[in-house]
C-alpha cells in the first residue's frame, strides 16, 4: 500500500473523526489485545474448577509469573530498541551461581565456593554479573558488529556451559539468607516478588512512556538512523539497555533462587522461547520500535494462566504440550485480530 491509499481528499474527510476520538488510536487497542484472551481463559478456568478463582490459586499464578515476567520485561526493553538477547535464559542461572561461587564457604558444603567476598555481597555481585553479561553482548553486537541473534545464542550456550562447569551440574542450596529473602518473603500477605515485579513493570512503563531516554528506545528501534540524526546516542543507549536486560535477568535469578529454595542447575533452561512468545503475543514487535510493557505483562499472564487452567482441567499429560502449542497459536491469532494489525 502506498500513500495514495489515503489521498488528502479522503484524508481530510476522516480527519475529523480521528481528532474527535483520539482514544480509538489502534496503537492503544494493540496493548489490550490479549485482554479478551485472558477473560476467556478466566471463564474456562472458572468452569473447569472452582479452585481457579481462589485467592491462593490466583496469587500462585502471579507469583509463578514473576521470574518469567522479569525476563520478559528485559527482553521487551531490548526488543523495543530493536535488538534481541537470547542469552537471558542463561544469565538467570549463571549470575546466581557465579555470585554464590564467589561468596560461599570454601569448605563444608557440597558446593565449595571461593569465599572471596562476605555473604551479604551476593546480591550486588549477582546483579553485577548480569549487567556484565549484558555489556558483553553489547560489545559483540555494537563494537564487533556481529549478528545479535547468533551472538547471544552463542552466549546462551557458553554461559550455560560456564554454569555447569562451575557448579559441576549440581543445584546449590543453603544460599545466604540475604540472597533468598526477596524470593520467599511475603509483604502484606502477597509474595514480595509480586510487588517487586509489578513495581518494575510500572517503573519501566513510565520510563518508556514519559521519560526522554525511555522514548528514545522507540526511536532507536523504529529507525536507528533517524534516531541518530535526531541527536540520540544510539549505541550508548542500546548498550545500556542490554546491560539493564542482563541485570534484570540476574535479578530474576535471585527471585527464582528464593522462590524455589536453591539455584537449580537447569534454572531458566529453555525459557527463552516462552519469553519471546509472551512478548510477541503481548504486542511487542520483533522488528523493534513497537509495543508496551503492559502488553508484555498480559502476555506473561496469558501463558501462565494457560498452564494453570490446563492443570486444573486435568488435561491428560500426554496431550498437555500439544494443547499448549495450540493455545499459543490461538492466542496469537486472537491478538492479531483484536489489534487489527498485520504482524510481521
Amino acid at each position: 500500500m502506498t500513500e495514495t491509499a489515503s489521498p488528502p481528499a479522503a484524508g481530510a474527510v476522516d480527519k475529523a473523526p480521528r481528532r474527535g476520538r483520539p482514544r480509538l488510536d489502534p496503537a492503544r487497542w494493540r496493548d489490550l489485545s490479549l485482554v479478551p484472551v485472558i477473560l476467556v481463559l478466566g471463564v474456562i478456568g472458572f468452569i473447569v474448577s472452582p479452585a481457579f478463582l481462589t485467592r491462593d490459586n490466583l496469587i500462585g499464578v502471579v507469583q509463578q509469573s514473576t521470574e518469567l515476567g522479569l525476563l520478559v520485561l528485559a527482553e521487551a526493553l531490548i526488543l523495543i530498541s530493536g535488538r534481541m538477547d537470547l542469552s537471558l535464559e542463561s544469565t538467570i542461572g549463571l549470575a546466581p551461581v557465579l555470585a554464590l561461587w564467589l561468596v560461599m564457604p570454601a569448605h563444608g558444603a557440597r558446593f565449595a565456593g571461593l569465599e572471596l567476598f562476605p555473604a551479604w555481597t551476593a546480591v550486588p555481585l549477582c546483579l553485577a554479573v548480569g549487567a556484565a553479561v549484558g555489556a558483553a553482548n553489547g560489545f559483540l553486537i555494537l563494537k564487533l558488529r556481529v549478528n545479535g541473534f547468533i551472538a547471544t545464542l552463542g552466549m546462551l550456550t557458553m554461559l550455560r556451559g560456564l554454569q555447569v562447569g562451575i557448579s559441576e551440574g549440581q543445584s546449590i542450596g543453603n544460599v545466604p539468607a540475604s540472597f533468598a529473602y526477596l524470593g520467599k518473603a511475603d509483604w502484606l500477605g502477597v509474595p514480595a516478588a509480586v510487588w517487586i515485579c509489578l513495581a518494575l513493570f510500572a517503573l519501566g512503563g513510565t520510563a518508556l512512556g514519559y521519560l526522554r531516554h525511555g522514548r528514545a528506545l522507540y526511536a532507536i528501534g523504529g529507525n536507528p538512523e533517524a534516531a541518530r540524526a535526531a541527536g540520540i546516542r544510539v549505541d550508548r543507549i542500546t548498550w545500556i539497555v542490554l546491560a539493564v536486560g542482563g541485570l534484570l535477568a540476574a535479578f530474576a535469578g535471585i527471585l527464582y533462587t528464593g522462590h524455589y529454595g536453591a539455584v537449580s542447575a537447569s534454572q531458566g533452561n529453555g525459557w527463552i522461547f516462552q519469553v519471546f512468545a509472551a512478548a510477541v503475543i503481548g504486542g511487542i514487535s520483533l522488528k523493534g520500535g513497537r509495543g508496551t510493557l503492559f502488553g508484555a505483562l498480559t502476555g506473561v499472564l496469558t501463558l501462565q494462566l494457560v498452564i494453570n487452567v490446563m492443570t486444573l482441567g486435568g488435561v491428560p499429560p500426554l496431550w498437555t504440550q500439544f494443547l499448549n502449542g495450540m493455545i499459543i497459536i490461538v492466542a496469537l491469532v486472537i491478538s492479531r485480530f483484536t489489534s487489527g494489525e498485520k504482524q510481521d
Partner: protein, 533 residues
C-alpha cells in the same frame, strides 16, 4: 573555492573532505563555504557526492580526511550528536522519521526540552501549531507511517526549521512535494532567511536554485568544480559545469507529433473507491499521455491499478485489444505493461542485490531456456542497460544499495523497459534525477513511444509532462481537463490545482468514488477520455 571571504563569517566551512565507501570515492578533497545568512545551492549530477557532504556536515559520517568548522570553531567531536545538532539542522534526502511514532513525537525527537517528564498533551498542542504554520493538516497524534509522502516530508521540514539553528541544510526537500507544497516551503525559507538563517539547498531543479539562492556550488565526480553567484550565471553554464561537457544541443523538445497509431491501452469504467472515479482512457501507439495531478489527486492510484498492483472496484483494461486481468501484476506484465513505481525504495529496488539482478527482475523468463537464468546473459543484458541509460555503477555486479539516488532510479527504469513493454506506465520517473539524466530518461520514454508503444506518465512535474503528446489533469480522482501539446504552464498548474478555466463544474470537489455522476467535463483535443459513471 572555499577561500572567498566577503566580510561575512562562514556559517560552515568544509575543506579537503575525503570520503570513501570501499572502492567508491564519494568525495575527493571537496569543500564549500556557506556564509552566514546566505542561501547557498549545491548542485551536481547524481552521485556527485552531495548527500555525502551533507552527512559529513551534520556529523552523521566521519570523513576520512578534511576539516569542518562552524563559525570559525572546529566541529564537535565525532559522536557528540547533540553538539552537531546545536549548529546545524538538516532535512535529509532519505526519510529520517520513525514510522511507528506519532507526528508530534517525531517533531520533537531528541529534544524534549525542559521538564523531566514528557507532557504529551502540551507537546501535541505545540506540534499542531507548528504544523499549521506550514499548512499541513495532519493530526499530531497520528502515526507517521499513516501519513502521505508529502505530509511526512513536511514533518521533517518543520522539524529542521523549528530548531532555531542558524544553518539549515536541505537535501532535495522538494523531490517529494507538489507545486503548492514547494510554494509553501519557499515562502517559509524566505522568511527565515530574512532573519539571517543560512541555507545549503540541494536540488536537481535548477529553476528552484535561481528562484531561491544567492550562490551556487557545483560538484562533479566527487570534486568541487565551481562556486559562483547565481545572478549572472546562465543555466547553460551551470549545466556545463555539472556535466563537464559543453552544453550540447538545446534541451530536447518533443518531436513533432506524428499521427497516433492503433490504441495500445484502453480502460473502460476503471474505478477505485476513494481514489478515482470511473475512467475511460485510450493510449495509442506512439503516444505519451500525461496524467497530471497534485499529490493525492488519485493519479498515482490510477497508475497502480493499470499495472495490477491494486485491484480496481470496477472496470476493464485491455492492451492491444486483449483484455488484461486486473489486480495482477504478472498478468499486466505479460500483457505488456511496464511499470516505474513512485517510490523506488519501497517498490523499486531490492537493495542487497546487484544492478544486473534488479534490472532483469521482470525478464527473468527470457534469460535462458526452460526457466533458467544464465548469468552471462544477465550480465550482458545489464551492461546494455547500463550503457544505454548511462547508469553510473562499477559494473553489473554492484549492489544497488551502493548507487546514488538518481542512478538507482535509472535501474528501476531499466527494469521497466527490460520487457520492451507495449505500454510504459511511469510514476514520477525523474524523481531525484539530475538534469542531464532527466532529459535522457524522458528521452527514453519518448523513444519507447516512438518505437510503437504507448506510455502513460503520471507526474506533477512540468518538465516531465513536456514530453507528453497529451496531458490529462486529475483532481480529486476525476479527470478535469485535457491538453494537447503546446499547453502553457500556468494553465496546467491551475488545472492540477482544481482551478482555472478547465475547472470541473462547481468549486467543491466531492471525494471520488461517491458515485455522483460527473458529466463529461473534459474539453481538449480528444473526446474519448474522461470520467464517466
Amino acid at each position: 573555492m572555499a577561500g572567498q571571504t566577503d566580510g561575512r563569517p562562514a556559517a560552515v566551512r568544509a575543506e579537503g573532505i575525503v570520503k570513501r565507501y570501499g572502492p567508491t570515492v564519494a568525495l575527493e578533497g571537496a569543500g564549500l563555504t556557506v556564509r552566514a545568512g546566505e542561501a547557498h545551492a549545491l548542485v551536481g549530477r547524481n552521485g556527485a557526492g552531495k548527500s555525502t557532504l551533507v552527512s559529513v556536515l551534520t556529523g552523521m559520517e566521519r570523513p576520512d580526511a578534511g576539516r569542518v568548522t562552524f563559525g570559525g570553531e572546529p566541529a564537535p567531536g565525532w559522536g557528540d550528536t547533540a553538539g552537531w545538532q546545536r549548529r546545524v539542522a538538516c532535512v535529509y534526502q532519505k526519510s529520517m522519521t520513525v514510522p511507528e511514532l506519532t507526528v508530534a513525537e517525531n517533531l520533537y525527537l531528541g529534544r524534549f526540552q525542559g521538564e523531566r517528564v514528557i507532557r504529551w498533551r502540551a507537546l501535541r498542542e505545540r506540534a499542531g501549531e507548528l504544523l499549521a504554520g506550514y499548512g499541513v493538516d495532519a493530526d499530531p497524534a497520528a502515526r507517521i507511517k499513516d501519513l502521505g509522502v508529502e505530509q511526512r516530508q513536511f514533518v521533517e521540514i518543520a522539524r529542521a526549521l523549528s530548531f532555531g539553528a542558524r544553518l539549515i541544510i536541505l537535501d532535495e526537500p522538494t523531490a517529494r512535494l507538489d507545486a503548492a507544497g514547494i510554494g509553501r516551503l519557499f515562502a517559509r525559507l524566505r522568511s527565515l532567511r530574512a532573519r539571517g538563517v543560512a541555507f545549503l539547498f540541494i536540488s536537481h531543479h535548477l529553476q528552484e536554485v535561481y528562484e531561491l539562492c544567492d550562490t551556487v556550488t557545483v560538484f562533479r565526480d566527487a570534486r568541487h568544480v565551481l562556486t559562483a553567484p547565481v545572478a549572472g550565471l546562465p543555466e547553460d553554464a551551470l549545466v556545463a559545469a555539472m556535466t563537464g561537457e559543453e552544453a550540447g544541443a538545446a534541451r530536447r523538445s518533443r518531436t513533432a507529433a506524428r499521427p497516433p497509431g492503433e490504441p495500445v491501452l484502453r480502460t473502460e469504467g476503471l474505478a477505485l473507491e476513494g481514489h478515482f472515479a470511473p475512467l475511460d482512457l485510450t493510449v495509442r501507439a506512439g503516444e505519451v499521455v500525461g496524467l497530471a495531478g497534485a499529490t493525492g489527486s488519485g493519479n498515482t492510484a490510477i497508475g497502480e491499478v493499470l499495472v495490477g498492483l491494486r485491484a480496481p472496484d470496477r472496470g476493464r483494461i485491455s492492451v492491444r485489444g486483449r483484455p488484461v486481468r486486473t489486480g495482477s501484476v504478472p498478468h499486466a506484465l505479460e500483457a505488456g505493461i511496464g511499470y516505474v513505481p513512485e517510490d523506488r525504495h519501497r517498490e523499486g529496488l531490492v537493495p542487497g542485490r546487484s544492478v544486473a539482478e534488479n534490472a532483469t527482475l521482470t525478464v527473468a523468463d527470457q534469460l535462458g531456456p526452460m526457466g533458467t537464468v544464465l548469468p552471462a546473459r544477465t550480465r550482458e543484458f545489464a551492461r546494455r542497460m547500463i550503457a544505454s541509460l548511462d547508469i553510473k555503477a562499477t559494473g553489473p555486479g554492484q549492489p544497488v544499495s551502493g548507487l546514488s539516488g538518481g542512478n538507482q532510479q535509472k535501474v528501476v527504469i531499466a527494469r521497466a523497459l527490460a520487457r520492451e513493454p507495449a505500454v510504459l506506465v511511469a510514476v514520477r520517473p525523474t524523481n531525484g534525477v539530475d538534469v542531464k539524466s532527466k532529459d535522457a530518461l524522458l528521452g527514453v520514454v519518448r523513444d519507447v513511444a516512438d518505437g510503437g508503444s504507448g506510455a502513460v506518465l503520471v507526474s506533477d512535474e512540468l518538465d516531465d509532462l513536456r514530453v507528453c503528446d497529451r496531458v490529462l489533469t486529475v483532481f480529486h480522482g476525476r479527470v478535469t481537463a485535457a491538453f494537447g501539446a503546446g499547453w502553457r504552464d500556468h494553465e496546467l498548474v491551475a488545472a492540477m490545482e482544481g482551478m482555472g478555466e478547465h475547472d470541473a463544474p462547481g468549486g467543491e470537489h466531492p471525494p471520488a468514488g461517491e458515485g455522483r455522476p460527473a458529466g463529461r467535463d473534459t474539453e481538449g483535443t480528444e473526446g474519448t477520455e474522461g470520467t464517466a459513471s
